[in-house]
């Protein structure tokens, strides 16, 4: 059973349908107790960091994720879900996030009006590390992105993939023990995204520490 964390941050329909299409049983978890017995967790999210963190704390998902991290339960974080794993975010005037992955979330800042923000569309992801979730996905494969903020990792060893946008190269995928997180939306990334989700379903994550 895969628990999809529902904390009021965006629409979970597409990620649920994508996992169901791959044959996974899914549960939309509205509280930490709903998700506690799941084999794996999907931590999705669209929207603002401040309201996302508020929604997470109200449902005690912050503790659930910290427990999952320590227990070695596989977690796939997507988009805002990835950003909230870091220490802090510049969004909403600066907020504290979950602090499970060292680093900060910054806003794209471009002087050139031709550079669109948000960064919307298909962009390529170059692998920074080998990982079981990259199985059958070559480095340089395109995925679908929609975001205005990006991750800056404190430890290069946490980066599993990176992407370049208008001269700014940022960490688009982080992997740490049993956590794997993507800035892009695998559930909207066609065949490549479905391959990544399938790899997650088959993944036996390493235990922490």
């Amino acid at each position: 059973m895969i628990a999809i964390l529902d904390y009021g941050a965006g629409n979970l329909t597409s990620v649920r349908l994508a996992l169901n299409h791959l044959g996974a049983e899914t549960l939309l978890a509205a509280s930490a107790s709903d998700a506690a017995h799941a084999d794996k967790i999907i931590f999705p999210g669209v929207g603002s960091a401040a309201s996302g963190m508020q929604g997470l704390r109200a449902r005690k998902f912050d503790a659930l994720l910290a427990d999952a991290f320590a227990a070695g339960k596989p977690v796939l974080s997507i988009c805002l879900g990835m950003q909230m794993l870091f220490d802090t975010s510049e969004e909403d005037g600066g907020i504290d996030a979950l602090g499970l992955i060292p680093g900060v979330i910054r806003k794209f800042a471009f002087a050139d009006f031709d550079v669109k923000v948000p960064h919307i569309g298909w962009n390529t992801v170059e692998h920074d590390a080998k990982h079981p979730l990259w199985r059958n996905i070559p480095s340089g494969t395109a995925f679908y992105f929609v975001h205005s903020y990006y991750a800056s990792t404190a430890n290069a060893s946490d980066a599993a993939g990176s992407t370049e946008y208008a001269g700014c190269r940022f960490t688009s995928v982080v992997a740490k023990n049993n956590f794997f997180a993507t800035q892009f939306h695998p559930e909207r990334s066609g065949k490549a995204g479905m391959t990544l989700l399938k790899n997650f379903l088959e993944w036996e994550a390493p235990k922490c520490c």
Binding site: N11, L17, H21, V46, I120, W122, N123, T124, E164
Partner: protein, 255 residues
């Protein structure tokens, strides 16, 4: 590197995909969900569904079709036509659509752009704009609504900038003079708007050959090119179009 998008547009009427010329003389082409699956497998980067008679018949968008599409394709898709308020937007997004395109409604009630952006994020809010050449307007182009039937006292460039300020996250710019004629996109207004707003502009209306797409994605500064006739009836495939764009050194997603 961010890639240029190829978007396939499916105009839907009575649960069938249809295509006309300059918004008239439509012929039926097939089942929208089956066609969506084919185009997705063929390499389309995104799909757009317009329920072209929902507005005129004053009925909501066909949510069953949205649901069946979401169960079967896993690339972004936008729906438009028949969106009457934020409640309709919510229903379309919960049924599985990624974005909602607002056209006539946004002109009548611009505040819906702000309400939609606040409720769902501006990435869900696409401004659909139909424009027609008219030298009486400052940019040389006038906004028209009701599927081309109602001319508005709105300058195309002014409206685009205002809509983005209100909350639109993307603009799908359709030029009626060139729609379905396959003689090329309307380059002037596409470039004008793409250079004046911070959000991506999708060029629509007029593609007949790969050079037309290449031109609008470079000279026209569009982030994405929308096609309909070319792939529905023109003998082109998405894969073929993208291979030719790649041969012209445009960055595209090849599968």
């Amino acid at each position: 590197m961010l890639l240029k998008r190829l978007i396939v547009c499916l105009d839907v009427r009575d649960r069938k995909v249809t295509k006309g010329v300059r918004f008239c003389g439509n012929v039926d082409l097939g089942d929208p969900v089956e066609m969506a699956k084919l185009y997705s497998a063929d390499g389309a980067d995104e799909l757009v569904f317009y329920d072209i008679t929902a507005s005129a018949e004053n009925r909501p968008i066909d949510l069953d079709m949205v649901r069946r599409t979401a169960e079967n394709i896993f690339i972004p898709f936008t729906v438009g036509g028949g969106i009457r308020n934020v409640g309709d937007m919510r229903a379309a997004l919960l049924a599985g659509a990624d974005k909602v395109s607002l056209n006539s409604l946004a002109v009548r009630h611009p505040e819906v752009l702000t309400m939609g952006a606040k409720a769902f994020g501006s990435q869900c809010v696409v401004l659909g704009m139909d424009v027609r050449r008219n030298p009486d307007f400052a940019s040389g182009y006038q906004v028209v609504t009701c599927g081309g039937r109602c001319p508005e006292n709105l300058d195309a460039l002014d409206w685009a900038q205002r809509a983005v300020a209100l909350g639109a996250g993307e603009i799908c710019l359709n030029a009626i003079d060139t729609d379905g004629v396959c003689q090329g996109y309307e380059m002037t207004i596409t470039r004008l708007i793409a250079q004046a707003v911070r959000v991506p502009v999708i060029a629509s209306g007029g593609a007949g050959k790969v050079d037309d797409l290449a031109e609008v994605l470079t000279v026209g500064k569009a982030s994405a090119a929308l096609v309909a006739s070319m792939v529905h009836t023109g003998g082109f495939t998405c894969r073929g179009i993208k291979e030719e764009l790649a041969a012209r050194h445009l960055p595209v997603r090849l599968m």
